[in-house]
Amino acid sequence: MEGFGVSLAFWILTGVTLVAALGVLASRNLLHAVLFLILLFVGMAGYFVLLSADFLAMAQVIIYVGAIAVLVLFAVLLTPRAGRNNGETRMFLPALLLCGTLLAIILFVITDTNWAVADESPSVTAADLGEALLSRWVLPFELASVLLTVALVGSIMLVRSREEEAEDAV
């Protein structure tokens, strides 16, 4: 990992993602929070590119920005105006404390550990990834597809209205 460009990109991305995450936390308007979340997803994709995971970066944008964020937007629009408040519960301070502690511990671990670092940039093409998914990780891969099917059927079942159920029962 060398070059001024990479460093610059890293720091810019860090700024963007952290601001976006803080924005999700701070914005009271749920819709603004969703838009900050999208910014975070895009920044994440940038990180993935830096980490030479091109395929995953693109998948990140397609799936998170193109699908999940749009789903969240849909959910926001399907709830009424009153439900678009993104306020905190009384648990905000305890949660902040807890997470701060957790962060301190993790940061300590990160800095204290002597990581064995491979320096040459590995090149993983989409073909390699596909190869791995269909040979070594084939079982989790199939499970993931089953999970997606279950999620699909499950979410359709969840949002069905009573009228539709009554229709189907006939």
């Binding site: 399907l78 009424p80 949002v159 069905r160 209205s161 009228e163 539709e164």
Partner: protein, 369 residues
């Protein structure tokens, strides 16, 4: 979507300023998602109190008012009014006058249907192309009007007892050229739209009215004929010698927007046929009878109706032997056709409502008068 989510219905104002309300007409729709649950028509933005104003003017002076009710079919409106006054005063119209009136009314029907078809396809989203094509042909009809009456839109051509001027000599060849081109043009529009899957998907079954509902709403014109009822004043209660001409009444199948569209296209074909026959058998003689300028018809009332492009166009005139009508009332076809709007739109989507509104072919000047 409705029922799936407990959504709040909200009110959407379609109009008075909206690209598809054909003027200043407003529909207050309550929508649940895209589905319309309630619709309320708000009219009167173009109200000019014509019926009241007419009581202050002489019978002849009222003719220009009728131009301005349905400004897309001024000839038909002129005709309806003068027929009513003639009925009231017992005036006979010479043969040639009647033939010219028929020619003008039918040309006006073609022009008005051009506009109706074009605006309707514009509402379905065919971006301006059919409407421009229709305007092209309508222009040629308006050229003929300009040639005869001097005005294109508000012709003020019919007079009590006949028509204002005789036909100029270049009228007949120009009309024949137009009549030769028109069937091709109608085929062109038909080829562009009628077989088009998207157009069929947008209009088939949209705003369908059963024959019974259509009659109950007292609809007339292409709206009524689209629902499968063979009713045409020109056949049922002939005026101006319509019984002499050979033409047919096109009727639809299920009364949806598409049926009204094809009925209008076919009516244009029939109008071409009528104008052709009228031109072929154009009698000589005077175009008008002499009628005193300050006409004082005997006390009484008269109602005359013509088959306007939009439906039954009726004029009701009451005389108290004065120089101006005691009471003057118009039965505007699109106002009455519009009353079925709620019936047709509720349950459909907003996009359907626009298509339905386009298929009624409203002229706001006539609705609000």
């Amino acid at each position: 979507m409705s029922g799936l989510i407990k959504s709040e219905p909200f009110t959407l104002n379609i109009g008075p300023q909206h690209p598809s309300t054909h003027g200043v007409f407003r529909i207050k729709v309550k929508v649940d998602g895209e589905r319309i649950v309630d619709a309320e028509m708000v009219m009167g933005y173009l109200h000019r109190a014509m019926e009241k104003l007419a009581e202050e003017r002489t019978y002849t002076q009222n003719i220009p008012f009728t131009d301005r009710t349905d400004y897309l079919a001024s000839m038909s409106n002129n005709l309806g009014y003068v027929l009513a006054v003639e009925k009231l005063a017992g005036i006979n119209v010479p043969e040639r006058g009647n033939a010219i009136r028929v020619i003008m009314a039918e040309l006006q029907r073609i022009a008005s249907h051009c506009m109706a078809v074009g605006a309707f396809t514009n509402d379905t989203g065919a971006w301006q192309t059919p409407v421009m094509w229709c305007f092209r042909e309508r222009e040629r009809v308006l050229d003929l009007f300009e040639m005869t009456s001097g005005a294109r839109l508000t012709c003020n051509y019919m007079r009590i007892g006949g028509v204002a001027f005789d036909l100029p000599k270049e009228f007949e060849p120009a009309t024949r050229r137009l009549l030769a081109d028109l069937p091709g043009f109608i085929d062109e529009i038909e080829g562009l739209l009628v077989g088009n899957e998207i157009f069929l998907a947008r209009t088939r079954g949209v705003g369908a009215l059963s024959a019974e509902t259509a009659t109950n709403f007292s609809l007339s014109g292409p709206m009524l004929r689209g629902s499968g009822i063979a009713w045409d004043i020109r056949k049922a209660d002939p005026y101006c010698g319509y019984e002499k001409y050979d033409f047919q009444i096109p009727i639809g199948y299920q009364g949806d927007a598409f049926d009204r569209f094809i009925v209008r296209l076919e009516e244009m074909r029939q109008s071409v046929k009528i104008v052709q026959q009228a031109l072929d058998a154009l009698p000589g003689g005077p175009h008008s009878t002499q009628v005193p300028l300050a006409l004082r018809p005997p006390a009484g009332e008269a109602y005359a109706r013509v088959e306007g492009p939009r439906g039954e166009l009726g004029y009701y005139v009451v005389s108290d032997e004065g120089p101006s009508p005691y009471r003057f009332h118009i039965r505007p076809p699109s106002f009455i056709n519009l009353s079925a709007l709620k019936e047709m739109t509720v349950g459909g989507t907003v996009a359907d409502a626009i298509v339905v509104l386009g298929s009624i072919d409203i002229v706001v000047g006539e609705i609000d008068r």
